[in-house]
C-alpha cells in the first residue's frame, strides 16, 4: 500500500513554499470581525431577547436601563454605550459602501471607530466595576445597572474588542487572518461559559448544538469539500458513534466505559463503517453516489429501530447514558451538573480536529483529494491511488462524525433512531453549503449561523413573538409556532445564498474558480468503460 503521508499530520507540510494563501482569507476574517462585533454588541444590548426568554426574569439588558428615566451618571454612560453600539452595527454597511465605490475606507473613519470602541470598552469596564465591585447602585436610576446581566457586559466588551481590532489593526487582520482569528476567538471561546453562567441553557446550546454540529460539519467537509464526494447519509456515522457510546456507557448492557475512551471508540467504529460504505461506491459519482449514501443513511436508523441483535433498544433507543464524573485532587467535576465542562471538552476536541484537518488539507493526501476532485484520470496517471485516497476521505469524515456522536450521546443521555434522520444529514450539508464548501473557516461560521438560527432563535422566537404581540397589542403573534418553519428557513437561506453568494459565506478557492469557469471532467470509470 502506498504511503498516504499520515505521519505528517502533525507537522504541517507545504510542499510548495510559494503556494498562495487562498484568495480573500484575510478579508473574510476582517468581515467576521466587523460583522461579529456588530452582532455581539447588538445582542448584548437586547440580551434578554437572545440569551434567555424574558419571562424567566433574571437580569436586564442595557436597553432596560435606558428605557427607565435617566437619573445618574451611570445611566448616561449606558446611553453612550448605546450610541457606540449603533455605530458598530452600522459599520459593516459603511465598509460595503466604500467597497461598492472601490474606495479605501478613510483613515479618519477608522480612527473615530477605534476611539469609540476603546471608549466603549473602558466604559463597560467602569460600569462593571462600579456595579459589581464597588456596588455603587445609586448612580444608575430606578433599574440599576447592577441588574444588567453579566452576559450583556461580556458581550459588549468582546464586541468592542473585535471592533477595535478590525478597524484599528485592519492590515494585521488581513495579512495574518489565522493568527488574528485565533488570538481573539480562543480566549472568548474558552471564557464563554463564565460569561454566561447566568444562562446555563446557552452553555448547553453552545456545547450541544453548536459544538456537535461544528464537528459534524467539519467531518462532512472532508468528504464533500475536500474529496468532492457527495454524501447524503452522513448522519448514519453520527448514529453509529452515538450508539457506540450508548451501548458501552449505560445500564443497557451494564457496561460503563469512560467517555474519553468512547470518543475514540466511536470514531474508530464509524470510520470502519465509512470505509465499508465507501468501498462499493468508489466508481460512483455525483447523483449515483448521493443515492447510495442516502440509502445508507436510511438503513442505519432503521436497523436501530428494529433493535438489531437486541443491541440498540428499538424505537425507544438507549437511555440513562453515563455522564462523566472526574475526580481531580482539588475537586470533583460532575459533567451532568456542571455542563460547562461538556462545553470545554467539546471545544478542545473541535480545536484539535480543526488543527488536524488543516494539516490534512495541506498534506499529500489533501493535495491528492484536490487532484481527484479536479480530474480523476489525470490523478491516477500521476500516481495517486484513487481507491485508497477516496476510502480515506470516507473513513476520516466518518470518524469525526462518530466522535461527535459519542459526545452527543453523553450530553443528551438518551439516543433514539429519530435523532439521526435524514433531516440531520440535510442540516449538516446545509451548514457546509452555507458556510462555504471546502473552506474550514467557512464551515465553522456556517455552523455558528445555522445552529444559532435553528437551535436557538427558532426555539425562543415563539416567546419573543408573544412578548412583542403583548407590547403592540397583537396577541395572535403569540400563537405562531416558528419551529415548524425550520425547513423553510433552510430553503430560503440556501436560495438566497445561491443568488447572492453562490460559493457560501466564505468560499474556498476551488469553489470560487469553479463558479467563474470550469465544468467536470470525465470520470475514471467512464474512461475504463465500466461506468
Amino acid at each position: 500500500m502506498p504511503s498516504l503521508g499520515l505521519g505528517r499530520l502533525l507537522t504541517r507540510e507545504r510542499v510548495d513554499p510559494t503556494a498562495r494563501r487562498p484568495r480573500g482569507a484575510g478579508t473574510s476574517t476582517f468581515w467576521i470581525f466587523s460583522i461579529g462585533s456588530a452582532t455581539l454588541l447588538f445582542m448584548g444590548w437586547l440580551l434578554p431577547w437572545f440569551v434567555r426568554p424574558t419571562s424567566s426574569g433574571i437580569g436586564y439588558s442595557p436597553m432596560d436601563v435606558v428605557s427607565s428615566a435617566p437619573t445618574g451618571i451611570g445611566t448616561f454612560l449606558v446611553y453612550l454605550l448605546g450610541i457606540g453600539m449603533l455605530v458598530m452595527v452600522l459599520s459593516p454597511f459603511a465598509e460595503l459602501f466604500y467597497r461598492a465605490r472601490k474606495r479605501a475606507v478613510p483613515e479618519r473613519l477608522d480612527q473615530v471607530r477605534v476611539l469609540i470602541a476603546v471608549f466603549g470598552l473602558v466604559s463597560t469596564v467602569v460600569v462593571f466595576l462600579l456595579t459589581r465591585v464597588i456596588q455603587e447602585e445609586q448612580l444608575f436610576g430606578p433599574i440599576d445597572a447592577f441588574t444588567i446581566t453579566d452576559s450583556a457586559v461580556w458581550l459588549t466588551m468582546v464586541g468592542y474588542i473585535l471592533a477595535a481590532t478590525a478597524y484599528g489593526l485592519r492590515g494585521w487582520v488581513i495579512r495574518r487572518p489565522t493568527t488574528a482569528f485565533a488570538a481573539l476567538a480562543l480566549p472568548v471561546g474558552i471564557l464563554l461559559p463564565l460569561m454566561f453562567h447566568q444562562a446555563p441553557v446557552f452553555i448547553l446550546w453552545a456545547a450541544g448544538s453548536l459544538g456537535i454540529y461544528t464537528l459534524l460539519a467539519l467531518g462532512l467537509n472532508v468528504v464533500v469539500g475536500f474529496a468532492g464526494l457527495l454524501d447524503l447519509g452522513y448522519a448514519a456515522f453520527f448514529a453509529i458513534g452515538a450508539y457506540t457510546c450508548g451501548s458501552l456507557a449505560s445500564p443497557k448492557h451494564s457496561i460503563h466505559l469512560p467517555l474519553w475512551v468512547l470518543i475514540f471508540l466511536g470514531a474508530a467504529v464509524a470510520s470502519m463503517f465509512g470505509a465499508v460504505l465507501g468501498a462499493p461506491t468508489l466508481r460512483l459519482r455525483g447523483d449515483y453516489l448521493a443515492i447510495v449514501t442516502l440509502g445508507f443513511g436510511e438503513i442505519i436508523p432503521d436497523l436501530a429501530t428494529n433493535n438489531i441483535g437486541k443491541l440498540t433498544g428499538g424505537p425507544d433507543g438507549i437511555s440513562s447514558i453515563d455522564q462523566p464524573i472526574v475526580h481531580l485532587p482539588f475537586a470533583t467535576i460532575n459533567f451532568g451538573i456542571n455542563k460547562e465542562w461538556y462545553y470545554w471538552s467539546v471545544l478542545l476536541v473541535v480545536i484539535v480536529v480543526i488543527v488536524l484537518l488543516r494539516n490534512l488539507e495541506h498534506s499529500r493526501v489533501g493535495r491528492a483529494w484536490v487532484a481527484l476532485r479536479e480530474d480523476e484520470v489525470a490523478a491516477a496517471a500521476t500516481g495517486i491511488n484513487t481507491t485508497s485516497t477516496k476510502l480515506l476521505a470516507f473513513a476520516i469524515g466518518a470518524s469525526v462524525s462518530g466522535l461527535a456522536g459519542a459526545f452527543y450521546g453523553s450530553i443528551v443521555t438518551i439516543v433514539s433512531p429519530d435523532d439521526f434522520s435524514f433531516s440531520v444529514s440535510v442540516s449538516i450539508l446545509s451548514i457546509i453549503v452555507l458556510g462555504g464548501i471546502g473552506n474550514i473557516t467557512g464551515v465553522i461560521v456556517g455552523s455558528f449561523v445555522l445552529t444559532f438560527v435553528i437551535f436557538w432563535m427558532l426555539q425562543y422566537l415563539n416567546e419573543w413573538s408573544a412578548t412583542l404581540g403583548q407590547t403592540i397589542n397583537v396577541p395572535s403573534l403569540g400563537n405562531i409556532d416558528y419551529s415548524q418553519y425550520t425547513y423553510m428557513i433552510y430553503g430560503v437561506a440556501l436560495i438566497l445564498m445561491m443568488l447572492l453568494r453562490p460559493g457560501g459565506l466564505i468560499p474556498s478557492r476551488a469553489r470560487q474558480i469553479e463558479l467563474t469557469s470550469g465544468g467536470e471532467e470525465e470520470s475514471l470509470a467512464a474512461v475504463q468503460g465500466i461506468a
Partner: protein
C-alpha cells in the same frame, strides 16, 4: 506501508531487453473491442511513433500501458517485467510518465501545483526541486506562468504543463498522447523541439499522433494502428515512403 517512491528507479535494463513491450494485447470496453492482438516494442532511448486515424485505438494503447485500462488478453512488459495487472499509480511509480490526451490539467490548481502533483509519488525534495528547474528550463513560458491557474493558459502552454507534469515523476518512459492536438503550427514546432530535447536527455518516448508526417519525422520507428490492429510498422523513413501510409495518412 512500504515507500516505493524512495526506492531508486528501475535499474538500466540489460541490453537487448526493450523498455516496453506489448505482446498480443486485447482490450475491450464492455462489448466494444478496441485493441486486437497489438504487439509493439520500444527500445532504450528511442522515440517511437504510434499513428493512426481517429478511433484506431491509439489512446487505448497508451491507457493500457499506464494501467488506466486492463487488457483482457496479452502482456505488457516494462523492462521485461509484466505490469498489465498493476494499478495506474504503481505503474507511474515504476517510471512511466503519461501526458494524457486532451492534456487533462488540474485546471483549478496553479501551474506550479500541477507540476507538483506530477511529483506526487516522490519524496526526494532536492530531486523535485531540480526537476522543477529542468522543466522550467525546457519550457520558459511555463515558468513565467507558474503562479497562474492552469485552466487559464492557452492550449500550447497547457500542453507544455502536461508534458512538464509527466516529467516531474522523472519517468524513464514518457507516453505522449497527441501533443499537437489543437495547437497552432508554430506552437507544435516548439513543443516537438522540446520532445526531441527530452529524448536526447535519455528519456524513452512513445509518441501518439494523428499528424503522421510530424510524428514520423520526429521518431526513429513507427507503428500504424488501424481499427485496433497494427497494420504496418518499420523505420520512419520506410513508412514515410510507403504508398499505403502516404495515401491513408499523409494525404498524398
Amino acid at each position: 506501508m512500504t515507500d516505493t517512491a524512495a526506492v531508486p528507479r528501475q535499474a538500466p535494463a540489460p541490453s537487448g531487453v526493450p523498455v516496453l513491450e506489448l505482446r498480443d494485447v486485447d482490450v475491450s470496453y464492455g462489448r466494444v473491442q478496441a485493441l486486437r492482438g497489438v504487439s509493439l516494442t520500444v527500445g532504450e532511448g528511442e522515440i517511437v511513433a504510434l499513428i493512426g486515424s481517429n478511433g484506431a485505438g491509439k489512446t487505448t494503447t497508451l491507457r493500457t500501458i499506464s494501467g488506466l485500462v486492463r487488457p483482457s488478453k496479452g502482456e505488457v512488459l516494462l523492462r521485461g517485467q509484466p505490469i498489465q495487472g498493476m494499478g495506474a499509480e504503481a505503474i507511474a511509480r515504476l517510471g512511466v510518465g503519461h501526458a494524457p490526451e486532451g492534456r487533462r490539467l488540474f485546471s483549478r490548481m496553479t501551474v506550479r501545483e500541477n507540476l507538483d502533483m506530477g511529483a506526487y509519488s516522490r519524496k526526494d525534495r532536492a530531486g523535485i526541486r531540480d526537476d522543477f528547474e529542468r522543466v522550467f528550463a525546457l519550457f520558459p513560458r511555463v515558468k513565467e506562468r507558474s503562479s497562474q491557474l492552469a485552466g487559464s493558459l492557452s492550449g500550447g502552454e497547457q500542453q507544455m504543463v502536461a508534458i512538464g507534469r509527466a516529467l516531474m515523476a522523472r519517468p524513464t518512459l514518457l507516453l505522449l498522447d497527441e501533443p499537437s492536438l489543437g495547437l497552432a503550427p508554430i506552437v507544435v514546432d516548439s513543443v516537438f523541439e522540446v520532445i526531441r530535447e527530452i529524448n536526447q536527455g535519455g528519456t524513452t518516448v512513445l509518441l501518439i499522433e494523428q499528424n503522421a508526417l510530424l510524428a514520423l519525422n520526429t521518431a526513429r520507428r513507427g507503428y500504424v494502428l488501424e481499427t485496433g490492429e497494427v497494420a504496418t510498422q518499420g523505420p520512419s523513413q520506410e513508412l514515410l515512403h510507403s504508398p499505403d501510409v502516404q495515401r491513408a495518412y499523409l494525404g498524398m
